[in-house]
């Protein structure tokens, strides 16, 4: 759940709930089913991540929805309507489809690629043109790139076009099969964030397949951890999954560093911060020293008249009668209340700092985050103590 504020909103009407009912897929006469009696319910407008080791049937399960894999038994319902009753080609035009290899048409321009489904649906030329322009803007691509061919774009840009193409006709459900799997880690992170931002806006029902638990935790409103045969070992929110793995398989899959992973789900504002002993220019040092006694943070933080942090003061700075202006006082990492905890910890470690000032959205001091706060949180009953070691040594 990337943004709790948005999750509470009523999902828009142009997304379908997906329900698997004993959905089974058997290839040929093989005794073992690729997916066996899968039951899963995905509310409209949510991102459901199917995650599991390779060969667990997650892609097969996803493909049952748009009938690129046909059901052997059971059913898949979109808003209560069986996919079996739908013409496959029409069903697919209402279902966005993004795959790892992207599969853009190399012989079509970017704009033509995006217009694929609207074109199939027989939209008018002006409407297609307007929609294409809108989508290029939505994915943050220069409109000029619309005239290029896919081979002229970078991998990240190509995958953005792949997402735009899938969204073109406003599908009820999006199927995404390891969509960012072939992208380098830095761009992958960027694309994930972009998609989350996009999803907060468009609220599609998304089935997202990945083998990467970190990606699952980041992207999913709900996660279905699957094991061989398409069996769901656990279906839960990311936080539940990390706090209470259903069994050993899930625990193994989620990984020993799952306490650390929880940091990825939290923002700095979610944790109790320490109060900083504040100091102003011209204030008597004795007054500042008095504040330091009993404070959790042993250093005073110099702030301006708007309470914006300027820097930490040292023992030497307090030698004078009053606090002097120190334009070069070291501030170290400055965090934001909206920062993800994992990134905040990374900033602390990278800055080799014990403490970091946290500012609110107007830049005013909101508190202090310390390595100690984080390690206490990780050691709390919620995060299991046996994983403490792993948590303290993240790198």
């Amino acid at each position: 759940m990337p943004d709790p504020e948005v999750t509470d909103e009523v999902p828009s009407a142009d997304a379908s709930a997906v329900r698997y009912e004993n959905a089974t897929k058997r290839y040929g006469d093989s005794a073992e089913a690729a997916v066996e009696r899968l039951n899963l319910e995905i509310p409209a407008g949510e991102v459901c991540v199917l995650v599991g080791p390779s060969g667990c049937g997650k892609t097969t399960a996803m493909r049952l929805v748009n009938r690129t894999v046909e059901l052997t038994e059971g059913d898949v319902l979109l808003d209560g309507e069986s996919v079996r009753d739908r013409d496959p080609a029409r069903l697919r035009r209402e279902t966005g489809y993004v795959i790892q290899q992207i599969g853009l048409f190399p012989h079509r321009t970017v704009a033509e690629n995006i217009a694929t489904v609207p074109h199939l649906l027989g939209w008018k030329k002006e409407r297609i043109g307007a929609r294409t322009a809108e989508l290029l803007e939505l994915i943050g691509l220069d409109p000029e790139l619309g005239e290029r061919y896919p081979a002229q774009l970078s991998g990240g840009q190509q995958q953005r076009v792949g997402v735009a193409r899938a969204l073109a006709a406003d599908p009820l459900v999006m199927l995404m099969d390891e969509p960012f799997g072939a992208i380098d880690p830095i761009n992958r992170e960027r694309l994930q964030n972009e998609f989350l931002r996009l999803q907060a806006e468009i609220r599609k029902t998304v089935l997202f397949v990945t083998h990467d638990i970190d990606e699952a935790i980041k992207m999913g409103d709900r996660i279905a951890v699957m094991r061989k045969g398409g069996h769901v070992a656990q279906y839960a929110t990311p936080a539940e999954l990390l706090m209470a793995p259903a069994d050993e398989f899930v625990e193994d899959f989620v990984g020993a560093d799952r306490a650390l992973k929880r940091l990825a789900l939290m923002r700095v504002s979610d944790i109790d911060l320490w109060e900083a002993p504040l100091a102003h220019v011209g204030q008597a040092t004795a007054e500042v020293r008095a504040k330091l006694r009993g404070a959790e943070v042993p250093y005073p933080l110099l702030v301006d008249s708007e309470r914006r942090p300027l820097g930490w003061l040292s023992e030497r700075d307090l030698a004078a009668e009053t606090v002097a202006a120190r334009p070069d006082s070291p501030l170290g990492p400055l965090l934001d209340l909206d920062d993800v905890m994992r990134d905040a910890l990374a900033d602390l470690l990278q800055g080799e700092a014990q403490y970091a000032a946290v500012a609110d959205h107007r830049g005013r001091i909101a508190g202090v985050l310390s390595v100690e706060i984080i390690s206490e949180f990780l050691a709390s009953p919620q995060a299991k103590t046996e994983e403490h070691g792993a948590a303290e040594r993240p790198h």
């Binding site: 069903l91 795959i99 599969g103």
Partner: protein, 250 residues
């Protein structure tokens, strides 16, 4: 080929072979024709007009044969594309046709189709089948699976996938096959004269004196230029129909 033609010559007795084989032999005895000079400019200057009709005939032979061969081979490819079991017999069948020596092919056809352009065209188009069929199949096989998967997943029908995705993407290989087929047909068509099909062969073998090099050089030169021209036209066509390939290199 020239070897085969030379071997076949004794078979082509007067009367069996059509116009322009023996009796069109130039009666003027120009000085350089008598000598063993490699190229006789005087003769060439005086006789260049006689190449017009054979050149047009040759062009027609090549164009019709390649178009016919393409139509058949393309149909074969579409059939075999969805029916893998058809591939081995089609490959073997077109392969056998391809290995029949050209002169033999013409003479084999004579009792069935008689002498004339049609016989030549049948044999010539039969030779193009293998190359065009094989290249088309390679082109279709080279279409990335992900592209087809995405196309299917977006709701294109099988027919739309074939015509809007697979065939456009196979164009470079298909045109490559056409280029090879066309160039080799320009060459083999010089033998059409043995089936009574006319063409530049009439000026190569038709002088009755295989030792008279001038006409062979002129007719051969025209054939080479024709092959180059066909090749260039096809190459330009390919460039124009596959703009995305240029884009990739830019």
């Amino acid at each position: 080929m020239t070897g085969a033609a030379a071997l076949a010559l004794p078979l082509a007795k007067a009367g069996e072979v059509g116009e322009g084989f023996f009796h069109e032999r130039s009666s003027e005895t120009l000085p350089c024709q008598a000598t063993d000079k490699l190229f006789c400019f005087d003769w060439a200057k005086e006789n260049i007009g006689r190449y017009g009709t054979p050149t047009v005939q040759h062009l027609e032979l090549v164009a019709i044969s390649v178009l016919l061969g393409f139509a058949i081979a393309f149909a074969f490819s579409l059939l075999a594309h969805r029916r893998p079991w058809l591939r081995p017999p089609l490959l073997a069948g077109t392969g056998i046709l391809y290995t029949i020596p050209s002169i033999a092919f013409f003479f084999l056809l004579l009792p069935i189709t008689g002498r004339g352009r049609e016989t030549a065209i049948i044999a010539l188009s039969a030779y193009t089948l293998q190359i065009i069929y094989r290249n088309t199949m390679i082109g279709l096989a080279n279409v990335p699976t992900a592209v087809k998967d995405a196309a299917r997943g977006m709701g294109l029908t099988e027919r739309q996938i074939l015509w809007k995705v697979e065939l456009p993407l196979a164009t470079p290989e298909i045109v490559a096959g056409l280029r090879i087929a066309t160039v080799s047909t320009v060459a083999i068509a010089t033998l059409a004269v043995f089936a009574g099909g006319g063409g530049l062969g009439t000026q190569i073998y038709g002088q009755g004196n295989i030792n008279f090099a001038t006409s062979i050089i002129i007719a051969g030169g025209i054939a080479i230029l024709m092959a180059l021209a066909f090749d260039a036209v096809l190459l330009i066509t390919q460039r124009l129909t596959t703009p995305w390939r240029r884009g990739a290199q830019a």
